[in-house]
């Protein structure tokens, strides 16, 4: 993030402030390296070390990334959005709003990943990409639900007003997440025939370790993405504020110049 929003004002000293700004620090770089190493170790365990599952064979390896990413987005990311939204409405600090928005954005990414891996898993176990499985169906609806939240966040309107509306939506969306989940589950439980549930498997030993490690890795990936997304959001916020200040100053200068000109004539 550099000074694109304040182009043509290089003569102002404060315009150069963000030039050295980037979203990495020593701490986040370390976190990034740990995350990358964890992903590599996870891949090694998931693809090589752990044995194929008894009934599903190699397809069950999706378990090591599918379930952890579902846990991260549905339980962690959207809870952070909920807390951030409540805190923003309560305290009014912009930081909470940015946290809520960043968590939702990364959460939607994980949700999409969950959806895609779920469908890929469905092909070998159910024989089709899409089955009206309660979890898959409610995940798809939740995905659209939070896409709506993100759409509100990028509305072209007064930032404070937008943040407040987004906060209300962030709270209501979480309630909807729960309602959709339970209603779809109930709906499918009425009609469900003897479908094979891919998640219904006994795991222990190396497989259990790989799964727990998968959750750990997904948490790392999530934290790392969230951290950077939040910092970018913070810089964007500062840039927007600085942009207004610079624009006002430029206008003042223009007005001052005209006034001087008028005075001279």
């Amino acid at each position: 993030m550099t000074t694109t929003g304040v182009k043509g004002s290089s003569e102002h000293h404060d315009a150069g402030n963000d030039r050295s700004a980037h979203t990495g620090t020593r701490g986040s770089r370390t976190l990034g390296i740990v995350t990358l190493v964890s992903v590599a170790v996870l891949l090694l365990f998931a693809l090589v070390v752990s044995p194929p599952e008894a009934t599903q064979g190699d397809a069950a390896r999706l378990f090591y990334i599918h379930v952890p990413s579902a846990i991260v987005c549905l339980y962690l990311a959207f809870s952070i959005t909920l807390v951030g939204s409540i805190m923003y409405l309560w305290k009014g600090t912009i930081g909470w709003d940015l946290i809520a928005g960043s968590a939702a954005e990364v959460g939607v990414l994980f949700l999409f990943f969950t959806l895609v891996t779920g469908m890929l898993w469905g092909k070998p176990t159910w024989g089709t990409y899409w089955q009206w499985d309660p979890r898959l169906t409610s995940t798809a609806v939740s995905f659209v639900l939070y896409l709506g939240y993100l759409a509100v966040r990028r509305l072209d309107m007064d930032p404070v007003l937008r943040s407040r509306r987004a906060a209300v939506l962030g709270i209501v969306s979480f309630a909807n997440l729960i309602i959709v989940r339970y209603s779809v589950q109930w709906w499918r439980s009425l009609h469900q025939g003897p479908t094979l549930d891919p998640l219904d498997m006994q795991i222990s030993g190396v497989m259990l370790f790989t799964w727990v490690f998968g959750v750990f890795t997904m948490l790392l990936v999530f934290s790392w993405l969230l951290l950077h997304r939040f910092r970018v959001a913070w810089l964007e916020h500062q840039l927007a504020e600085a942009g207004i200040d610079v624009a006002i100053r430029e206008r003042r200068n223009e007005a001052g110049g005209d006034a001087a000109l008028g005075g001279a004539i």
């Binding site: 609806v141 639900l145 407040r164």
Partner: protein
């Protein structure tokens, strides 16, 4: 709060009565959707009756409850959008607040007006579905209570989300995106409960009716609580 709600509801219904947008545009749209479903799903398409391997029944009749509620949802989007379109001009929302009205009252009033409009719409669409798809009626009490409680849910959630998008240029595209996933559980519950009311046994419908009632209460509560912060500075 209740006095304000009555005032707002009466105002909105009077505006509707004078402009006749509901009767000349929204209701015909709903009927058109019902007819188009008939084109999408061929009326000749037949399936075995559930639980029986011998007698056949038209698919259209079997899916009539779901189609009815889909038509209601699509038409409701228009009615709800209209409910806030009339407030968007000339800073009407600010005027409402300047008039010293309670935000909770404004919410209840607008939701109440939408509820009345949707119930009228549903009477017409219900009659239309009955004629076009020809489904039987097993339990009228269940049907009426399901329709009312589902519609309270649609009206209150719709009013809350429409307020969220009030005064925006992208309102017309944003409200469906926000509202339809939220109303998906209502569509599920209302379709299944209506199915139970039409084909029986009614006992299948009562739990869904309870769920629809819970949804309606939840969204009425959310609207009453959140409307103040949505109207502020709008």
């Amino acid at each position: 709060m209740w006095r304000d709600a009555r005032l707002i509801a009466a105002k909105d219904l009077r505006v509707e009565w004078v402009s006749r947008v509901l009767t000349t545009q929204v209701v015909p749209f709903g009927l058109l959707v019902l007819i188009l479903f008939g084109f999408g799903i061929s009326p000749d398409l037949q399936t075995f009756e559930p639980g029986e391997a011998t007698s056949k029944v038209a698919v259209l009749e079997q899916v009539a409850p779901g189609l009815f509620w889909l038509a209601v949802l699509f038409s409701a989007l228009l009615a709800i959008g209209r409910s806030f379109a009339i407030e968007a001009v000339d800073g009407n929302l600010d005027a409402l607040r300047l008039a010293g009205l309670d935000p909770a009252g404004i919410f209840l009033g607008k939701a109440g007006a939408v509820l009345v409009e949707l119930l009228l719409l549903e009477v017409v669409l219900g009659f239309g579905s009955f004629v076009l798809y020809g489904a039987p009626l097993d339990n009228a009490v269940l049907l009426v209570t399901v329709v009312v409680s589902a519609t309270v849910g649609i009206a209150s959630a719709g009013t809350l989300y429409a307020a969220l998008a009030a005064g925006l240029r992208v309102r017309d595209t944003l409200v469906p995106l926000l509202l339809l996933p939220v109303l998906a559980p209502v569509l599920l519950g209302a379709s299944l409960a209506t199915e139970a009311a039409l084909f029986g046994p009614a006992s299948d419908g009562w739990p869904w009716l309870a769920a629809l009632g819970a949804f309606a209460v939840l969204y009425l509560g959310a609207g009453i609580l959140a409307f103040g912060s949505l109207l502020e500075d709008s």
